[in-house]
Amino acid sequence: MLRLLFEKTGNAVWISHLDLMRLFQRAFKRAGLPLTHTQGFNPRPSVSIALPLSVGVESVCELLDFTLDGASVPCEEICERLNAALVPGVRVREAYDTGKKLKELAFLDCAVTFEYDNGIPADIHEKLQKLFAAESLIVPKKGKNGIQDQDIIPMIKKLEIAKAGEKKLVLNARICCQNPSLNPMQLVAAIGLHLPELKPDFAKCKRLEIYDLNQEVFR
């Protein structure tokens, strides 16, 4: 099995997870890199993407596992051929065959950008620090079994707040991404719920790096 480290940026962030799988399957085909297929009535090319990304979220650290059918191709060449066959915004950074086990994936760093059209509210820094320093912070989460309350504090390992100009604030956080996982947009939801006066006019998120249980970079 081989692994790709790729990024999804620009307009490609609007491509959904399922569509991205299809996009890669076609890109492999265009690149002349045949994939092995699943068994069964409807064989499908075996590609799997770790930690499906929400639509609209940017990332520079996505992982895709795949197996090539036939002669092996040097990893650098796979990378080049795929990049020639992909769309703007989806770019393979690296292809390699020495990946860690996906179940060891535990944390990720993300940057959540808050946009305030009328300028950043006063005292926001202190108020947010206080909010996320609490013992628990309950945010409802939509799941398979309906809406359930989720305490997000145990899933935040690190959190920094930095100004980025007069109208933008960036929350850099290291959060759990697997068993349990925290959707970074829950950080925005927490503010909307507990500090409604600080609710941003717009928020967007970017995934920066992924880590294993020992908080070492995951590849």
């Binding site: 620009g10 307009n11 490609a12 609007w14 491509i15 959904s16 399922l18 569509d19 299809r22 996009l23 399957q25 076609r26 890109a27 492999f28 085909k29 265009r30 045949p34 297929h37 409807n42 064989p43 090319p45 639509v55 609209g56 066959a85 992909l86 769309v87 703007p88 915004g89 717009f202 967007k204």
Partner: protein
């Protein structure tokens, strides 16, 4: 992309359809561009990107030096709402520039019920709806596609129509515009000149007047405009432009596969079918060219499915040669080859068996009518025996699903014909009982009936549409005669088919109705989520137009028809003869059993009709 749009995209369904950026999308440097064309498809991205015609013409225009053609689709309701709330005008996908920035606005029209989408898109773009409200060369609107064979309902909105196949005429039209823009022509001068291009119809050069009973009194030609405009065709499809580098959408579309047209036209002559007559004469592509284009398209796109399309693929003479070559190519690369619209003949049955090894597709028949008598009336050359033999083969091969499509309200139809449908379905069930290899799963028969809509340029173009209550009575009559649990029966609601009948045979007096319906909120009429019958009824009421005039009234054989200006190659004399044959319950053999003399062959100069 604008900041506004970035904030809207997270709020709408399937945002990827609004951003462009797909593989093979064509971008050009504006400094090298003299003519910008906004190619509008009046339905959603998923429908529009499945349209082969649009893909061909996108390629044709972008091959031209100094011309940049971009795509525009109708937004879904949530996006439209956000656009209006944020004052975001309709944009083209490639450059994200507003449609008003473009020189030409091209529209392809394949379905009557997208007329409100056309107006809604112009409105969203901020382009005046009526042609006379648009001055100068900028934002000139032209349209083509099968619906434009009766262009009259749109005559007040569209500056000119490009009739028939566009591979060649589009180049001539856009080149003329290029010159007109460089030489700073007036719109009037451009329209006078563009009307000289064969296949171009400028509606403002024709005046329609009416009798007191509402029928057309005269069509008066102004300027030097031709009395009739003949549609364009491409004679030699092997040499015709065909793009093998096509845009590969990043999000799922309706026909998410490569699509190759094996021939154009149809030899069958089903009397209700508009495409069957208006797409004549028959012209084929050679299997060598098709195989090359298939391989090029598949290699370039990475698709895992390819469709061989046409109006009746079994009638492609070299289908065996082509599929014999394509099956091994596709099998070895895990590509699914689909061949829809096969007839129920022996070769097709063999071919189905072969294709089955790739993937089991459905078994669908469109007998259209329940009795042989009525099938003879409509000239649908499909016998009960053919249906049952094919079913028997399929059932013994493991199929347990059949779809059967019919129409209700066909000319001369009686209750006996309606019940003939139930009878035929019953025989299919019997066949399953006798032949099914695996009865454990049970049989599913999907039966659907549509409400017959008479279409221009067919032998039934003069026919009455039955009224909606009568249609529903026939649906219920049929339903009451389905006893088996294996049958799932669906019938179309009459509302949309009634409107189709109005717009298909409509005239210029429909223009205000379309505007009014759009203002009442009619849009995306082809979608159940949005279809709003009341918006239309109110529009008819407000404008004082009686829809029955176009539906249950029927048109007289001596009456001037709104689409009489348009010549699709098949003569009116032939259509009349076919109509008489229909009433005599006499079939006209397909064109391969002798030319029926429809007239379309006269459009050809270089090649012969391949029927």
């Amino acid at each position: 992309m604008t900041e506004k749009l970035q904030r809207i995209l997270p709020m709408v369904q399937k945002p990827a359809r609004y951003t462009g950026g797909e593989y093979n999308e064509i971008k050009k440097n504006l400094e090298d561009v003299r003519v910008r064309v906004a190619f509008c498809f009046p339905d959603t991205y998923e429908i529009g990107m499945s349209n082969v015609g649009m893909r061909i013409l996108y390629g044709v225009m972008n091959e031209m030096d100094g011309v940049w053609c971009e795509r525009v689709f109708a937004p879904w309701g949530d996006m439209e709402e956000a656009m209006r709330a944020n004052k975001l005008p309709l944009w083209a996908l490639e450059s994200q520039d507003p449609v008003t920035d473009f020189d030409m606005i091209a529209i392809t029209i394949g379905y009557e019920m997208c007329y409100t989408n056309i107006l809604n898109m112009l409105d969203l773009a901020g382009v005046p709806l009526y042609a006379k409200e648009r001055h100068g060369l900028k934002n000139i609107v032209f349209a083509g596609g099968v619906c434009t064979f009766n262009p009259e309902p749109l005559a007040d909105f569209v500056d000119f129509f490009s009739l028939g196949e566009g591979e060649e005429s589009t180049v001539e039209i856009v080149s003329l515009y290029d010159r007109a823009k460089a030489e700073n022509w007036s719109k009037e001068k451009f329209l006078t000149e563009v009307a000289k291009i064969p296949g171009v119809y400028v509606p403002s050069f024709y005046e329609h007047s009416y009798n007191s009973d509402g029928t057309l009194k005269a069509i008066t030609t102004m300027e030097d405009a031709p009395k009739t405009v003949t549609k364009r065709i491409v004679e030699n499809l092997d040499d015709a432009y065909f793009p093998t580098k096509m845009i590969v959408p990043s999000t799922e579309i309706v026909h998410d596969r490569a699509n190759l047209e094996v021939f154009r036209g149809c030899i069958r002559g089903c009397r209700f079918c508009q495409a069957g007559f208006s797409c004549r004469p028959v012209r084929k592509k050679s299997p060598e060219v098709l195989y090359r284009q298939a391989v090029e398209t598949l290699v370039d796109s990475g698709h895992n499915e390819i469709t061989l399309s046409s109006l009746s693929t079994s009638d492609y003479r070299q289908l065996k040669q082509l599929t014999d070559e394509m099956i091994p190519y596709c099998e070895s690369r895990r590509i699914n080859l689909s061949v829809p619209s096969l007839r129920a003949d022996n070769f097709s049955r063999e071919l189905m068996q072969k294709l089955q090894t790739l993937r089991k597709s459905g078994l669908t028949f469109a007998p259209e009518a329940g009795t042989q008598r009525l099938r003879d009336v409509i000239n649908k050359n499909l016998t009960e025996e053919e249906i049952l033999t094919t079913c028997a083969n399929a059932f013994s091969g493991g199929w347990n699903n059949v779809k059967l499509y019919f129409m209700l309200g066909l000319p001369t139809e009686t209750d006996e014909d309606v019940l003939g449908i139930a009878d035929l379905v019953y025989k299919v069930i019997q066949t399953w009982k006798e032949h099914a290899s695996n009865k454990k799963r049970g049989l599913r028969i999907h039966v659907a009936t549509a409400y017959f809509v008479p279409k221009p340029h067919t032998p039934f173009q003069w026919e009455k549409q039955i009224d909606p209550q009568e249609y529903l009575r026939r649906c219920r009559l049929l339903k009451d005669h389905f006893y088996s649990k294996s049958i799932e029966y669906n019938y179309h609601t009459p509302d949309i088919s009634r409107l189709e009948a109005v717009t298909a045979r409509g005239d210029r007096r429909l223009a205000p109705v379309l505007v009014e319906a759009m203002k009442n909120g009619a849009k995306l009429d082809g979608w159940d989520e949005y279809f709003n019958y009341q918006a239309w009824l109110d529009a008819f009421e407000t404008c004082g137009i009686d829809p029955d005039f176009y539906t249950v009234r029927g048109f007289g054989e001596d009456e001037i028809l709104p689409w009489d200006t348009i010549d699709v190659g098949v003569t009116k004399k032939f259509l009349l003869k076919e109509r008489k044959q229909a009433y005599a319950e006499t079939v006209t053999p397909d064109c391969r059993h002798g030319c029926a003399g429809c007239g379309a062959a006269a459009l050809l100069q270089e090649v012969k009709c391949d029927a």
